[in-house]
């Protein structure tokens, strides 16, 4: 990722969409990124086996925050299976960057992993 792209993400980072706890949610889960040391909570509202609404709480680095924020839009309307099939390539596409260094992969994935954990918990 080049520097200009990074700075483009700062605007999203400063004021991310879907930040804050949903008033009405079916399941929540806490996620932790060992690479940036950041903790996030995600909240999901489910309807007919798909995600109706998603939000998050927490602060992290630009990669973790922007990816979790954008994922909260991306996963709406998707089933567990569909979300579980997503991976790093999808996160890269969603935040619009082609390369994430090995040490930052945890930052990129913390949002997706936490949403997957929340879905698994909801199914139980």
């Amino acid at each position: 990722m080049d520097e200009d792209k990074y700075y483009e993400l700062i605007d999203i980072y400063k004021n991310p969409e879907h930040a804050g706890k949903l008033q009405d949610f079916d399941v929540s889960e806490e996620g932790y990124s060992t690479s940036c040391g950041d903790t996030f909570n995600v909240y999901l509202k489910m309807e007919n086996g798909t995600i109706k609404e998603a939000s998050f709480e927490g602060n992290g680095c630009i990669i973790s925050t922007v990816s979790i924020s954008k994922l909260c839009s991306e996963v709406v309307g998707k089933s567990s299976d569909k979300v579980n099939s997503m991976g790093l390539e999808d996160v890269k596409r969603i935040i619009g960057i082609d390369h994430i260094s090995a040490s930052r992969v945890g930052c990129a994935l913390v949002g997706l992993e936490t949403i997957k954990k929340a879905l698994a918990k909801y199914k139980l």
Partner: protein
């Protein structure tokens, strides 16, 4: 004392002429590991091309030379910290050195260990682990100036067996008064372990003056190769220690029902030792001796004063280090509104290498500095220049403007 010229010593470090992302490398991550001079890099190659053999046991010529290389390195380390060679144990790194003590020091259930909030995880987890074995761990706090609460050492409980304390924090840069701590600990009957990982590269150490029972440091932070570290054990405490790793090289005779162990240091060096890297550490010490630890200390002190005074006028910075009475070559900071990982990332784009995160000292950063998500840290060494500090701070200002 002759004038010290960082630009002159830089020529001895091949990696310092590299470019990163199209910019000259500015390496400010020395608290994590230092760079290596050609003498060390070439020396390790020389060892494998000319000396390599398993030392100590084999009788052939190369084995004899390998043994000599290993023991000469031990003598150099001993001289470097004013110890005797038999008090020097080669280990992998500081972490292993401290674990060795935590595994081998004989302590009854219910004994207490006193350590501090300034510790790196490597001088914290080996003690916290002992709580599972029925020991108690007490933690000394820090004040607003990032100094240890020295009053805690005035009243050490009688059942405290060991005081484990850092000589220099890798986060706050605090240099602790280990001589005083040793004196107070000994007065109450406790042993003292000093983690010197952050000071051995920068400050002339004298174990007799410090009067520690154990002192640990890593070779790789002081120009040596990765994979070799040092544990100094004062001769007087040997009877209080049991085995650590067992196996080859650490015995004098083995019968199925009667094992006689070798004396220290071999007693604590089971298995084929890391001779090549010990040899490399010896060469690193030669280099430090040639430059002179006093000159290194004096130059870095001026460089750090310059860094701190220049940084004081930068509004976007929060600074978490350097408030103590004496400070090491550590500058921990954050840029307002920016996560430390993002600061490290953007600095890397300019060729500047720093560390970001919890710095292996999460309780200190979360509980005492009250920072979530870690801090950024620049840690210069004697080969860093004033120009590099200027470039680093100029880039920080730019990042601050973008996030402001």
């Amino acid at each position: 004392m002759s004038d010290f010229d960082a630009n002159e010593v830089r020529k001895d470090f091949p990696i310092l002429s590299k470019t990163i992302e199209g910019n000259p490398l500015i390496y400010l991550d020395n608290a994590a590991t230092s760079q290596k001079p050609s003498t060390v890099i070439d020396g390790i190659k020389y060892f494998y091309e000319n000396i390599n053999a398993n030392p100590l046991r084999s009788l052939h010529k190369l084995a004899e030379e390998s043994t000599k290389a290993y023991e000469t390195a031990r003598e150099k380390v001993a001289r470097f910290i004013n110890a005797s060679p038999e008090e020097i144990i080669f280990v992998r790194n500081t972490t292993e050195a401290i674990n060795l003590v935590s595994f081998s020091l004989k302590m009854d259930r219910g004994s207490r260990i006193l350590t501090t909030y300034l510790e790196h995880h490597s001088n914290l987890l080996p003690w916290l682990r002992l709580r599972d074995k029925g020991m108690f761990v007490d933690i000394v706090g820090v004040d607003d100036n990032l100094e240890l609460d020295m009053g805690r050492f005035e009243n050490i409980r009688q059942d405290t067996k060991l005081v484990a304390v850092t000589h220099g924090s890798n986060v706050t840069g605090t240099i602790t008064d280990v001589e005083k701590i040793s004196r107070l600990a000994h007065a109450s009957g406790a042993l003292v372990l000093v983690d010197a990982a952050q000071t051995a590269p920068h400050i002339k150490l004298d174990v007799k003056k410090i009067d520690a029972d154990f002192l640990a440091f890593s070779g790789h932070k002081m120009l040596g190769p990765m994979g070799v570290g040092v544990l100094y054990i004062n001769k007087r405490v040997i009877p209080k220690l049991g085995t650590f790793l067992t196996g080859g090289e650490m015995i004098s005779s083995v019968k199925m029902n009667d094992i006689k162990y070798a004396d220290v240091p071999a007693y604590f060096e089971a298995g084929t030792p890391n001779v090549a890297d010990a040899y490399g550490l010896g060469l690193a010490i030669d280099y430090l001796d040639k430059v002179g630890m006093d000159r290194i200390y004096a130059y870095e002190k001026k460089l750090m004063d310059y860094l701190y005074s220049s940084a004081a006028s930068i509004d976007c910075l929060d600074i978490y280090s350097g408030k103590s009475r004496e400070r090491g070559s550590i500058f921990s900071f954050s840029v307002k509104n920016a996560h430390p990982h993002d600061v490290a990332y953007l600095l890397n784009k300019k060729g500047i290498a720093i560390r970001s995160g919890f710095q292996c000292a999460q309780p200190l950063i979360e509980d005492k500095l009250h920072v979530k998500g870690g801090v950024a840290r620049a840690s210069p060494y004697f080969y860093n220049t004033y120009d590099e500090i200027d470039t680093f701070l100029a880039e920080i200002k730019k990042i601050g403007n973008m996030y402001g």
